[in-house]
Symmetry: C2
């Protein structure tokens, strides 16, 4: 296939071509060929998801995943591997989560961190339906007190960027229980964060406030959210029943698992690539964030396979506790805040194993322009988009470092991501082999480019 | 989400911004909002695939699809709808297609257009395995005569562009039976054209030459191709059995179904948008090319919904017989070759219903540059790639017109496409609602831009 457009861009961007050396070209090709021709990340993801399964912080499965990750980092060529201890929260979904409206069963799942229903038995109350926290705040108290609050605002389907739609709706999951209690409500039901219209509830983190009573909170599938809203509209006296025996289990020690490739020129300057090892406790955490974990492991293997010798020290980081606390990300940033070693760049893959489309960047203008100047060279690999903005939860605490490191996020296509995210559908079978491999090669390529550029 | 990169590109490309008027911006937004907020294409695809099913040229299902397409074109607001008669070939897969190697069953399906095995009964012969036609041509005749030839060359996994990998391997499907017969072979088995390693055979067009004996040809799944090659390598005397009762049914009249929106300024100049109504006769033709059909139907509805008044006359064309003859595309080009009305631009959606990434263009340099100049404006819709090259089978005969019309192809992401293509997996369930809707809006947008530009 001819590429006159690319050539045309190159001609326009003459001076920028210095950003992309002939050696970069050769390495980029070699990384993608190794990933697509001899890729191991798909089988690694099978091990993590089918062999270990989901792995909430504090769970025995998270322990198993840490041990597995350390083994693979070593097998994939790390000079050394270490565990950075992190105290993580532990919570269990328990064995009971059911809900109904009169005779109609509702498909729900506890939000992560929720208290159980009182006495682990069914809580029954009338229900009021609101679109979001703002609408709830406007209702008179006699319409909310003693009720179960259904937050039924959908993700905005008109936004092309599904991450923006998620960001615009997720407050009702995170703060819905607080808002419900403030209005005198007895529990919160939250419409699942997905564009899919189906019967699958999606969990995720929720929070309590010290000064507000703690009420239980569960996610409800989009289909059931609609059905429930119709039942309540038809007869506002209809009652909803909710029973959950999830509970907090305190704290325990787990950790970030880190593989190191020692730099030849600037060994005390670190460039990190990571994904998070923990996942929610339904599904298999395949896209979120098994994909980021195997991208990270495979990027190390790919760089080794092509014989790349890094200038900076590279860290391949399997973070713990992204989902419900980000204690792994905070611990990693804290460990290098005042040390002789400092982090000059970090990249995260935590947006799924779908086909990569480019990179987001959270950095100073000069680096933003650097990334943009690379796009014509990245286009043959399907990487033709760059956006200034959010790079990832685990690496975001590094922003407080001075000087601020360059933060980059892998940006896979997002149209399907929230179909799976935090749900029973986030399983190995919903990850595509080639798309996953392209993501791994994209991570390896960007780490190599950062290493050459910084 | 901020877009400093986009602004930066705009600054660089100042003079080009005249290509994208404020009215284009408003219309683009309105088209995507209508597609994502009130989209009908997903339910239309359900009607076509679940209501009618697959629809090989000449079949009663293709008749039903023509009638359905005419109804939807009218319902979606065409000023007029007509059928352009086309004589199409008719072929049936029959009721029997089975193969085995000694005691091992092989998952196969007849290639489209193949003759049956002699007497509709099992043909049994030893087998020789080659990678492709070139390797077969180099073998001495005593290693090929009287044998079944297994063409086992995979699509090249190292190519990022799966269409290029398909193009590089598909000769053994199209010409394998001819090459096999020239080597004295008695049948051809062709490794399925897919990157997926699975048990699903993929059919597709095959051809005979007048001067060469006609031998039967079937596709074999990638898993079975490997197993069979291993069996033959282990014992070259192992025999393969193949039985098929597919057959040619002659010709009959069907046609292209065309909806018209009359142009206000240049009514005798046509801009066409199309997909093909026929499909292969396994699966449901959901991605190939149900997606292109409903993209076309929905683009008409979207342009109507936003009140767009075209300058040129717009044709929304449901082509017949793309899969095994392209007689619909040839008839359409012939109809406007010497007419008072001429086609100045044409666009095709025939690369699946996956997430759109941009457009291919087959045109003069000036139009190629025009498309490239639009990319910064198309980026917010996820359309950030343009390639000069192939635009589509159905519209390609228009290239012989003078002056040559601008030809554009919708370019969805291709990583998954060949998992489904021409197989039993090409079903409605494997099409994603939002991805399909984005494709429809992208088609409508490009037709509107062509109408403004040409």
């Amino acid at each position: 296939m001819t590429r006159p457009l690319l050539l045309c861009l190159l001609a326009l961007n003459g001076p920028l071509s210095a950003q992309w050396a002939e050696s970069d070209q050769a390495r980029a090709g070699a990384l993608f060929e190794e990933a697509l021709g001899n890729g191991e990340c798909y089988e690694r993801l099978r091990e993590l998801t089918k062999g270990i399964g989901h792995r909430l912080s504090g769970s025995p499965e998270a322990d198993a995943a840490m041990a597995w990750g350390a083994e693979v980092l070593a097998a994939n060529g790390a000079d050394s591997v270490f565990v950075m201890p992190v105290i993580v929260p532990s919570w269990t979904r328990g064995t009971l989560c059911s809900a109904s409206c009169e005779e109609m069963p509702l498909r729900v799942t506890a939000l992560g961190g929720s208290d159980p229903t009182p006495g682990d038995s069914a809580l029954e109350a009338p229900c009021v339906v609101v679109r979001g926290i703002e609408e709830l705040a406007e209702l008179p108290r006699d319409q909310t007190e003693g009720r179960i609050i259904l937050f039924n605002r959908p993700m905005d389907p008109l936004l092309i960027n599904t991450g923006s739609a998620y960001g615009g709706a997720v407050d009702q999951r995170g703060r819905g229980a607080i808002a419900a209690a403030q209005a005198g409500g007895v529990a919160a039901l939250v419409r699942s964060m997905t564009h899919a219209y189906d019967t699958v509830p999606h969990t995720g983190a929720m929070y309590y406030a010290d000064t507000v009573p703690r009420v239980p909170a569960a996610a409800i599938s989009t289909v059931d959210a609609r059905l429930l809203a119709q039942h309540i509209e038809a007869d506002p006296s209809n009652r909803v029943s909710l029973a959950m025996n999830c509970r907090d289990l305190g704290e325990r020690e787990q950790g970030n698992v880190i593989g190191v490739l020692r730099g030849s020129e600037r060994p005390h300057e670190i460039i990190a690539l990571g994904g998070h090892l923990d996942s929610w406790d339904i599904g298999e955490g395949a896209h979120d964030d098994g994909a980021g974990v195997v991208h990270t492991l495979e990027a190390l293997r790919l760089l080794r396979a092509i014989g790349y010798q890094p200038r900076h020290t590279l860290h391949f980081v399997l973070f713990i506790n992204e989902e419900n606390g980000n204690r792994g990300g905070k611990a990693y940033a804290a460990a290098y805040a005042d040390a002789n070693e400092r982090v000059v760049g970090a990249m995260e893959s935590d947006a799924g194993g779908l086909v990569p489309r480019g990179f987001s960047i959270d950095a100073e203008l000069q680096e933003v322009e650097w990334l943009q100047s690379l796009l014509p060279f990245l286009e043959p690999y399907g990487l033709n988009s760059s956006r200034q903005g959010w790079a990832g939860v685990d690496i975001s605490p590094l922003k407080e470092h001075t000087p601020r490191p360059v933060l980059i996020g892998l940006m896979p296509d997002g149209q399907r991501y929230f179909d799976y995210h935090h749900s029973a559908r986030d399983v190995f079978e919903n990850v595509h082999k080639r798309e996953l491999e392209l993501g791994a090669a994209s991570c390896a390529l960007m780490i190599m480019l950062l290493d050459q550029h910084l």
